[in-house]
């Protein structure tokens, strides 16, 4: 569904993305994992067209996104830090998005708005919201138009346990509908039950992209957190991971 070919992005001296190639398919939940500043958000923003890569190509549904924008109709994006017009009220924000998108009302997914009871806060201006409520608004916007791809950048950061559980439930539900979901998170326990594939980035380089079962077998750990910890410590040779990625690519 999304194919990335040799993406490289430099921010002055810093190489944020270094020749990354990957391919994501329907029904997968990809966990993007890596230390801070490893290029996760840059990769996500490149897919969304917010960051323009220096070289390389990104394909969405087999179509090369060459500065196009229509494809974003099928992507729901939840940013790491949701920033919204200060003067706007929550209700106005949702209405504005619906008005701009002009999608038929039956495709609109209000579930998260209901679950988080955002309706009762429709009159609150965005600038008065707490970080957690903002995050809830971001999540509700990402799912609002029932997109076939969801890109969630640290979705559970700042959410209370209950809301976090609601969001996870929602993600699981969408996964079962066969959507492609990309998640970055540092809370690996959150990813455990959701993820089907793990993509590990370090200093802008992709270390591996592999199936969660394979990762568990390779590291001998059941918990994702422990498995990743092993990888981070460098106890496992990266060689076999890379070979798996290469076979994937030729396929």
């Amino acid at each position: 569904m999304i194919r990335i070919e040799n993406i490289t992005k430099r921010f002055k001296k810093l190489k944020a993305l270094d020749n990354i190639s990957a391919s994501f398919e329907k029904g997968q939940v990809i966990s993007l994992i890596g230390p801070n500043g490893s290029g996760k958000t840059t990769l996500i923003k490149s897919i969304l067209g917010m960051v323009k890569p220096d070289s390389g190509k990104i394909f969405f549904k087999e179509e090369y996104i060459n500065g196009g924008f229509i494809y974003r109709k099928d992507i729901g994006y939840m940013p790491q830090i949701g920033r919204y017009p200060d003067n706007m009220k929550i209700g106005q924000l949702f209405n504005m998005l619906k008005n701009i998108r002009n999608e038929p009302p039956e495709t609109i997914d209000n579930e998260l708005i209901k679950e988080y009871d955002l309706c009762s806060m429709y009159e609150k201006p965005m600038r008065t919201l707490s970080g957690g409520t903002r995050q809830k608004v971001s999540a509700a916007i990402a799912f609002l138009f029932n997109p076939s791809v969801l890109i969630l950048d640290e979705p559970t950061a700042g959410l209370d346990p209950l809301s976090s559980e609601v969001l996870k439930e929602k993600i699981l539900q969408e996964k079962n509908k066969g959507k492609l979901i990309l998640i970055t998170s540092h809370i690996l326990s959150d990813l455990d039950e959701l993820t089907t594939h793990v993509m590990y980035l370090q200093e802008g380089k992709m270390q591996f992209l592999k199936n969660i079962e394979t990762l568990r077998e390779d590291t001998g750990e059941i918990k994702l957190a422990k498995a990743i910890a092993r990888v981070m410590k460098g106890e496992d040779p990266a060689g076999n991971f890379i070979s798996e990625v290469l076979t994937k690519k030729t396929k």
Binding site: V51, F69, Y84, N87, M88
Partner: protein
């Protein structure tokens, strides 16, 4: 695109700055017409205020608004909208609000007290200058990521167009006063929209008779049909060129 502009406009109207600006223009023009017996004298004072205040307000307001609506732009970029459309909607929203502020604040008193050819020239110049400087402000703010830098750049451009440029022109005219420079001054006036606007208004007034040989040459040129065409053409160029450069830069920008 109009949908987006509508939201931009809505956001601007809520901040009330534009309403204060309208009132300021209205009070200034009304009091000038009230104080002066002779409406053409009032027009001259009004012209000087417009030529200084209008570019400044357009530049500063646009730059600040651009940086304040960065969140809105960010949000829109995650939606299926092209970058060009987003930026042009911002432009439409801002320029429309500044333009209506000018047309209400100055247009109504002028229509009331001095509905002449000079008045029309003044309204034309004011409107185009608003558009030109909004466009230039977009260029400045898209280029600079930092808010302070963007506003500083915009202010520097204002200084350049209102003060520094005239200084340079005077310097050139004095140093080369032995040569015939009339055609040359005609050309360099086109390189500054404020000067062009000033000449355009002045020639509609009686004072142009006092400007000597250069004034006569100007009157000859700007008074004719080609002169009008030239002014309109150069002004359109001043509006579209910075805006086009801004859109070009914005398309390649990382958000």
């Amino acid at each position: 695109m109009m949908k987006l502009s509508k939201y931009v406009l809505y956001d601007i109207l809520r901040s009330k700055i534009i309403i204060a600006y309208t009132l300021f223009l209205f009070i200034v023009s009304l009091s000038l017409f009230q104080m002066e017996e002779d409406s053409s004298k009032a027009m001259l004072s009004l012209m000087n205020i417009i030529l200084i205040a209008l570019p400044l307000v357009s530049l500063v307001f646009t730059t600040i608004h651009y940086y304040n609506s960065y969140e809105f732009i960010e949000l829109m970029l995650s939606q299926p909208l092209s970058r060009k459309k987003i930026l042009l909607s911002e432009y439409t929203g801002i320029s429309l609000s500044l333009l209506s502020a000018f047309l209400i604040g100055v247009g109504i008193p002028v229509a009331f007290y001095a509905a002449s050819e000079t008045g029309m020239a003044m309204l034309f110049t004011g409107s185009t200058l608003t558009l030109v400087f909004t466009s230039i402000a977009f260029f400045a703010s898209v280029r600079a990521r930092d808010k302070a830098k963007g506003i500083g750049f915009a202010l520097l451009l204002w200084f350049y167009f209102t003060l520094i440029y005239d200084g340079i022109v005077l310097l050139i005219l004095f140093s080369f006063s032995d040569y015939p420079l009339e055609k040359f001054t005609l050309l360099i006036s086109a390189l500054n929209p404020i000067d062009l606007g000033r000449i355009f208004i002045m020639l509609k007034m009686d004072v142009s008779a006092l400007m000597g040989y250069t004034g006569a040459l100007y009157k000859d040129f700007f008074g004719s049909g080609t002169g009008l065409l030239f002014t309109v053409g150069v002004m359109i160029l001043w509006i579209t060129l910075p805006l086009w450069l801004a859109v070009r830069k914005f398309r390649k920008k990382d958000i």
